[in-house]
């Protein structure tokens, strides 16, 4: 039996309704991502990049289609199971870092691990230290986020995403709030992680960042218009 795709979106549609208007944020998306891939998702503002990432991260539901993660149809799971998948299989990296100001670096990284009941405090500690070492932030464990530079904050956020050993890292404009030097540092870190076997899906509108990915996917008006391993003819996609 062949190994299932890590992410398998089949004919996913998501529509936003306003009073007299329906807007297709995702329109018949077919997308498969295998373990170990580094995929960038790009496109103009409002094309549905972030919505696609939210759907993949189980932060948003969709109207039609199927979503399989590692062979399991996760879109059909209940709230608790979805939370479990988010916690164990997915690691999020946000544009705005989203560190909690009232927690120090260690606690921020530890936070998703506290949502698991199968880890002892000692195990959590080891996993946090390991994740922080991976992003070279082991020496800043007791610092508050406000004491760190933007690049350092994003590295902590990446450590938080990595700490639970997720199957896939979902990064939403990870360099959007950083200067070019810090942006380069973060992209190098993601490349290193990919080199170590991590699967990464990154939304970006920055072509320089997109260059780091091995596979480039483009969206336009909620449709997939470009993919080096396209799952459907481009023409069909355009015609909807």
């Amino acid at each position: 039996m062949s190994k299932p795709h890590l992410i398998d979106l089949q004919a996913v549609k998501k529509v936003f309704y306003t009073e007299e208007l329906e807007t297709w944020a995702l329109n018949n998306i077919h997308l498969r991502i295998d373990e170990g891939e580094y995929v960038s998702v790009s496109g103009p503002s409002g094309c549905g990049k972030s919505t696609l990432l939210s759907v993949m991260g189980l932060l948003s539901s969709f109207n039609e289609g199927h979503y399989f993660l590692n062979g399991t149809e996760v879109s059909a799971l209940g709230e608790v199971e979805q939370a479990r998948v988010r916690n164990r299989d997915i690691g999020f990296i946000f544009q705005a870092f989203n560190l909690i100001g009232e927690m120090n670096v260690f606690e921020n990284v530890e936070l998703p691990l506290t949502f698991r009941d199968d880890l002892s405090k000692k195990q959590r500690h080891a996993m946090v230290v390991e994740a922080l070492e991976q992003v070279d932030m082991g020496h800043r464990q007791k610092h508050a986020p406000s004491e760190l530079s933007g690049g350092q904050q994003q590295r902590v956020a990446i450590a938080r995403a990595l700490a639970g050993h997720p199957k896939v890292l979902l990064a939403d404009e990870p360099t959007g709030n950083l200067d070019s030097a810090n942006a380069d540092m973060v992209m190098e870190l993601l490349s290193k992680l990919h080199g170590n076997g991590s699967t990464i899906v990154m939304v970006t509108h920055d072509p320089r960042s997109a260059e780091h990915a091995k596979r480039k996917v483009s969206l336009f008006d909620g449709k997939l218009v470009d993919d080096c391993r396209q799952v459907q003819p481009m023409l069909a996609a355009i015609e909807g």
Partner: protein
């Protein structure tokens, strides 16, 4: 699992510390609402729900009589009616009675008044309480010819007889006669009042109501399966039959009423108890809404963090736990402080109960309030209700928010409409509850404080009085002997307290008892057959001593001989009522017409002396001490000596005149009147505190809610201004809403008037200050609502439209 919990708890504590002032505000709201509700609960329970401490106490009912339909029922049943009930009962398991009696215990050189009651012989046995020593009374003890016998309370056995184990059978000197101790009751035994000694109540059969002036507190014990209504249906026809047979003695509409035995003295307060219970719940509700809004605002500030937690894999349950944990800590602090507040309140309540017990020497009242462990559990339970009611809904809303929208920042304004409607509804409910509470409580405070502070019309400062009447012993059967006693006592007091003045009366000023009287020529006009007016018997110098002025005629003097013309003085209030526009001097009043009592000729009119609070200003009739020679009296002394020295000097003086007639409990008149008025006086601080707490809760809650709802619309203000609206037009939108809120206050005001009107049976003038109260409430609400609307609106419209549009 536990370490996860500690992780969340640590974080919640950190948030609590970070927003310390906000946390303290929330904790204070919880403390005030829970503390006040708990205090009211404890007071209400002790007054109206505390069961009496003997087996099967719930089966006992107090039989009370309302002399007229307009009068409230009292636990004073005349001996004849009691005899009829006793003889004609069919389904009532047991009927018994007691009446307070004086008991002076003379041992060696000391005489001590004891709190005593005469009880029907079978009463203690019917309570199923075994004596600690000796026996209970039997039917033989209740016969008039039986040798005097008493049962001692545990405390009096300890205090006066050093717990003598051989006390049973001993003769002790009570009321100047040898009396045998037949029993000692167990420790803590309490039968309706805190008595120190019990006599058997000897009641010989009487042929008509006029044959006995005895009044008793009567009780019935229900048989299993028999309801209070069944008993009432049985005794009511008996009472009505007695009324019919003796129309000159009883009002035709005199009726019996039944109350649970533990409510013997408190049933009249039930409207106040019910309203205060309602107020406690309303205050809790106010607190819940207040905290709910504060917590919701707090959670809104944390919406991004909560969305992030969701994105990182937190389940909704875990999010809820995190939200609830912070508020749980705040509520925990609040409940500890609230219970401390309640305890302070209860201690105040205890002092309010202690004061009259000490001044009136009535012993420990049964309704002595105490904060029991179960009350603390109730307080904690109330706090848990406050916690869940205030946090669960906002927390659930926050746990259901769209994490992607919040993190992506695309959800701005999406739920504003819903939030705005919720906030408007909450403001409306809070306004109604606040106005309702303010109207009820402020009305009561103004009404009662006006009544208790009315001028008494007598000198009070520097006056001392015996708190209970002293009853003459059988040695003083002759009126002359009594007159000689007063003369001797006055002389003895003056010798020990030079410069003092002593007077005698049968009642303290403002508290004369009502007696049946007839006013000559006025029977038809006043239905004189049952007319009862306040009558007090006073010595000649009473008026001068008490500072009561002569309006016309003269006061009593030496010419009013005991065998001469029987005379009376009336006060100007009574004169105005019964002889309007006439001079009462020379008019006649018959005292106790049913017993063919003496006709008294009015010789003078005295200035008005106020009645007790809500006693009804009926005026007063004074009789001459020399002529009436009453069987009981109180001593009033004006002196400048220190109270302690003065009391002992008066006691010593009485002891030298007759050791078997000790003067009871000498107190300053100020304290005595304050103790008698304490029930009403204590209403003022309690309801004032509720007014203050309501203003605080309503003020902070409404200001927070309204101003927040305006601030949330800052972007909308920017849009309106960008589209060309003037500042004035924008301001008017919010001012119009403020006016609607004020309209809602009227709903609360009307409900408040309705509930206050239910209290007029207890506080007759409860509605008398309503216009002032409503005006005051409107002013307070106006200040809160308009300042909460105007200030943030002004701030929002002072922003550049561009800044307002970017406002978060």
């Amino acid at each position: 699992m536990m370490s996860n919990f500690w992780f969340d708890l640590r974080y919640a504590m950190r948030l609590l510390r970070r927003a310390l002032s906000h946390s303290l505000l929330c904790a204070m709201v919880v403390a005030l609402s829970v503390g006040l509700a708990l205090f009211v609960f404890v007071m209400d329970y002790s007054i109206a729900y505390k069961p009496l401490p003997f087996p099967g106490a719930d089966r006992w009912v107090s039989i009370q009589i309302a002399g007229k339909p307009t009068e409230s029922a009292e636990p004073r049943l005349d001996a004849y009616t009691y005899q009829e009930l006793l003889n004609r009962r069919r389904n009532v398991d047991y009927i018994g009675a007691f009446t307070s009696r004086e008991a002076v215990l003379s041992e060696g050189e000391e005489s001590n008044p004891l709190r005593a009651a005469a009880i029907t012989p079978g009463l203690l046995a019917a309570m199923h309480v075994a004596p600690r020593l000796g026996r209970l009374f039997d039917e033989h003890d209740g016969q008039v010819t039986s040798a005097p016998a008493v049962i001692l309370s545990y405390d009096s056995w300890q205090k006066y007889f050093a717990a003598d184990p051989a006390i049973i059978g001993k003769q002790i000197r009570i009321n100047a006669q040898p009396t045998q101790v037949v029993g000692v009751m167990p420790k803590g035994f309490y039968a309706f009042q805190d008595y120190e000694l019990w006599f058997p109540l000897a009641m010989s059969p009487i042929a008509s109501p006029q044959d006995s002036k005895l009044r008793v507190s009567a009780f019935a014990r229900k048989r299993a399966g028999v309801s209070g209504v069944d008993i009432l249906n049985e005794i009511q026809p008996i009472v009505q039959d007695v009324n019919k047979r003796y129309p000159g003695v009883y009002d035709a509409h005199r009726s019996a009423e039944l109350f649970p035995a533990f409510r013997i003295y408190s049933h009249e307060n039930m409207p106040i108890i019910a309203v205060s219970g309602f107020i406690a719940i309303a205050i809790l509700l106010l607190g819940v809404m207040n905290i709910s809004m504060i917590f919701y605002a707090r959670l809104l500030e944390r919406s991004r963090e909560l969305a992030l937690r969701s994105a990182l894999g937190s389940t909704r349950r875990r999010l809820l736990r995190q939200c609830l944990l912070e508020s749980a800590l705040i509520v925990a602090i609040g409940v500890v402080v609230g219970i401390a507040f309640a305890e302070l309140g209860v201690q105040w309540g205890q002092s309010i109960r202690d004061f009259p017990s000490r001044v009136l020497a009535t012993g420990m009242p049964w309704d002595y309030p105490q904060l029991r462990p179960v009350d603390i559990f109730i307080g904690i339970f109330a706090a848990i209700v406050v916690w869940l009611a205030s946090t669960l809904v906002p927390a659930m809303r926050m746990s259901r928010q769209d994490a992607a929208k919040v993190i992506g920042g695309t959800g701005k304004g999406a739920t504003a409409g819903g939030r705005s409607r919720t906030a408007t509804a909450l403001v409306g409910v809070q306004l109604v509850i606040s106005c309702l509470l303010l109207v009820i409580c402020a009305s009561l405070v103004l009404a009662v404080s006006g009544e208790v502070s009315k001028p008494r019309g007598v000198h009070v400062d520097g006056m001392y009085v015996t708190s209970d009447p002293t009853t003459f012993t059988s040695r003083y059967a002759d009126a002359k002997a009594r007159n000689n006693y007063w003369t001797d006592l006055e002389r003895a007091i003056t010798q020990r307290l030079p410069g003092s003045e002593t007077a005698f009366a049968t009642a303290v000023p403002t508290r004369p008892d009502d007696f049946p009287v007839a006013i000559e020529g006025r029977q038809a006009a006043f239905n004189e057959s049952t007319l009862k007016l306040p009558v007090t018997v006073v010595s000649d110098n009473y008026f001068a001593l008490m500072g009561i002025a002569k309006v016309s005629g003269r006061f009593f003097d030496g010419t009013d001989a005991s065998d001469g013309l029987q005379v009376a003085v009336v006060d100007e209030e009574l004169a105005r009522r019964y002889w309007p526009g006439q001079d009462p001097v020379g008019k006649r009043i018959q005292f106790d017409p049913a017993s063919n009592g003496p006709w008294l000729t009015v010789i003078g009119v005295a200035s008005h002396v106020a009645s007790e609070p809500y006693g009804g200003e009926k005026g007063v009739i004074y009789r001459s001490l020399r002529q009436a020679a009453p069987s009981a009296f109180q001593v009033i002394v004006r002196a400048s000596q220190r109270p302690g020295d003065l009391a002992s000097a008066i006691r010593e003086a009485a002891y030298t005149v007759d050791r078997d007639l000790p003067l009871h409990n000498i107190q300053s008149l100020n304290d005595l009147l304050a103790a008698l008025d304490i029930g009403y006086v204590s209403i003022v601080p309690v309801f004032s505190a509720i007014v203050a707490i309501t203003v605080l809760l309503a003020g902070s809650g409404l200001f927070g809610m309204i101003s927040r709802s305006v601030v949330q619309r800052t972007q909308e203000i920017g849009i309106r201004r960008a589209l060309g609206s003037t500042k004035a037009r924008v301001r008017n939108i919010f001012m119009r809403k403020a006016a609607i809120y004020l309209g809602i206050t009227m709903v609360g005001g009307i409900l408040g008037i309705v509930i206050t009107s239910l209290l007029t049976s207890v506080i007759p003038n409860a509605l008398s200050h309503m216009i002032l109260v409503i005006a005051g409430v409107i002013v307070v609400m106006f200040l809160v609502v308009f300042s909460a609307s105007y200030l943030p609106t002004r701030r929002a419209i002072s922003l550049e439209p561009g800044d307002a549009l970017r406002y978060e």
